[in-house]
Symmetry: C2
Subunit: 336 residues, 2 copies
């Protein structure tokens, strides 16, 4: 089967590509080819199947169509402008997060329903939506049918894109699974423009021996997941039977609600008090205004009981996972 | 104040324009000019202020910008491709219902935040969303925070547009009030491509002495409002204080839940059994598949108690209103 990863050069895209290369198959079927598409062509990877690496604009329908050739069975759409950046640059956020998704729908429609359509099975589209598409804040513990009332442009664009993907699924244009990802920790690399960047930084930077700042109080709770679990969820969403989803293509996967204080305690238990001491309190109202609106918890019953998405590890296991998977590469990348 | 009505040539747009011309003011302030924009330039109207009539494409940002000139204080965005048509022509629905709203946002952004912006107060944008943006069906009685999970493209496009307008309001680009209109009865003119067209037809056609078909059973319930009340709601939404709305710009106005059987009884009480006898049962699964998914009832507490939207009349008053306001013109238009 042919697979395309849009945003294939990003942190999760690269991990997913590596995992696919390692497995060689998906849902018991051999992978015949993989396309990695990002703003700049992602580096090639070793794989038991051909890998195409393309650079381009996800909001340009023609370029996205090239990235989703005839025969594509699965598209993983990770390409996005992150929260603080979408807030700062409205046009860019709309362009990538909304028009990018419209381009994906258009590309799939060309395959399944266009004038030259091959009558193919609607491709599975795994879309990364976000916890930021909800409101509710620290007090919230959202049910699966909670309304998306986002307090940030990134979340609004993601929620709008979900609606369009859900409708395209109903029409048989594609077969969407929209995962509202929790805040993924521990992200490797450097701090980025996501408002939630600090949630990874307070764990990653001390593990690198670097000081970092905590912009919110320690009792601040965040709905999180690990990169390992995010990849497990993607693989599950890429191959699962979507019949039980019916009309509702939005899934709140089983993340974990944890306070920043608990994360720092887990850091201390894994890496000692000297690691924790590298985290300095530096309140930032702009960051808190964005992340403070995101719900701190979900019931996630549908994903857990009906749809078979795997549970989250403990905070200690999440930190250990970063040390095993990403610490060395992050050191090298940052010259530490 | 300058006002623009997009979709100003349609049934509700013309009624609203006539009402504004009659009143001469809105919220105690004199109207200084009115722009009516539609696919074809709407006919001019008599008014105590200048009226511009423009024809154009609501999905073309340049044309919409022309329709929303500097100094515009209120935009009423009624331009839409209706439900059955958006279902039949996916591209057209997306273009008008989604990209049309994006063009409105862009035009308002040029006024308030663009490089040549005058720093104007964000214009009020009254957007007609729809009951079709919800699911739930006959059993539903939806709360104000119900999730929009539409089972039709029209509803998905409207719900996505609401999200984008809500976000643009939060950003100070505009000041949106999105009214999820019930099925408006009795519509004048001819049957149209809305899946709900029959709800008006079963009352209008008999009043014209014509036979008509009922595609659903008599116990089928619909969430309805009258044209008179819809216009009252528009006027209220155009001038209301939006502070109590906060982030949530979507409003379920206080419509009425009525079965088709009750509507036919009201028809009989107003126009006699011979009128009712003109309605013939002719089940249509395609129509029922669309309208059957729309919720039959809403609590509408927020609109009613917090926001001051007016209540619905009785079914008999709604029918009487059609006879008084629209029957003669409909006869003339259709040469009956």
């Amino acid at each position: 089967m042919q697979i395309t990863i849009l945003g294939g050069g990003g942190f999760l895209g690269r991990k997913l590509a590596a995992r696919l290369a390692h497995e060689g198959s998906l849902g018991g079927e051999a992978i015949s080819g993989l396309t990695l598409f990002d703003l700049h062509a992602p580096p090639g990877i070793e794989a038991p199947f051909p890998v195409r690496c393309l650079g381009g604009d996800v909001a340009d329908p023609a370029q996205v169509a090239t990235a989703i050739p005839e025969g594509t069975r699965v598209v993983v759409h990770l390409a996005a402008v992150v929260s603080a950046q979408a807030e700062a640059d409205y046009e860019l956020g709309l362009r990538v997060n909304l028009h990018g998704t419209l381009a994906v729908i258009e590309a799939c429609r060309r395959l399944t329903q266009g004038p030259h359509a091959s009558g193919a099975t609607p491709p599975r589209v795994v879309f990364t939506s976000s916890v930021a598409s909800f409101g509710g804040g620290q007090e919230a513990r959202l049910e699966d049918d909670a309304r998306q009332l986002p307090g940030n442009s990134y979340g609004a664009e993601k929620a709008a894109a979900e609606l369009l993907l859900q409708d395209a699924s109903r029409r048989g244009v594609l077969d969407a699974v929209s995962l509202r990802l929790p805040t993924v920790i521990v992200r490797p690399g450097r701090p980025n423009k996501a408002a939630s960047s600090f949630v990874s930084a307070i764990l990653r930077e001390p593990l690198l021996g670097l000081q970092t700042e905590l912009p919110v109080p320690e009792e601040f709770a965040v709905w999180i997941c690990s990169p390992r679990r995010a990849i497990d969820w993607f693989l599950h969403a890429m191959a699962m039977d979507t019949t039980p989803l019916g009309l509702d293509r939005g899934i709140n996967p089983p993340g974990r609600s944890a306070t920043v204080g608990k994360m720092l305690s887990a850091l201390e238990s894994v890496a000692g008090p000297e690691a924790r001491a590298l985290v300095r309190h530096a309140p930032d109202p702009a960051i808190e205004a964005i992340v403070g609106g995101w719900p701190a918890s979900f019931t996630a019953e549908r994903a857990r009981r009906l749809l078979g998405f795997s549970e989250q590890e403990s905070l200690e296991e999440i930190i250990q996972g970063f040390i095993e998977d990403d610490l060395t590469a992050t050191r090298a990348e940052r010259g530490i």
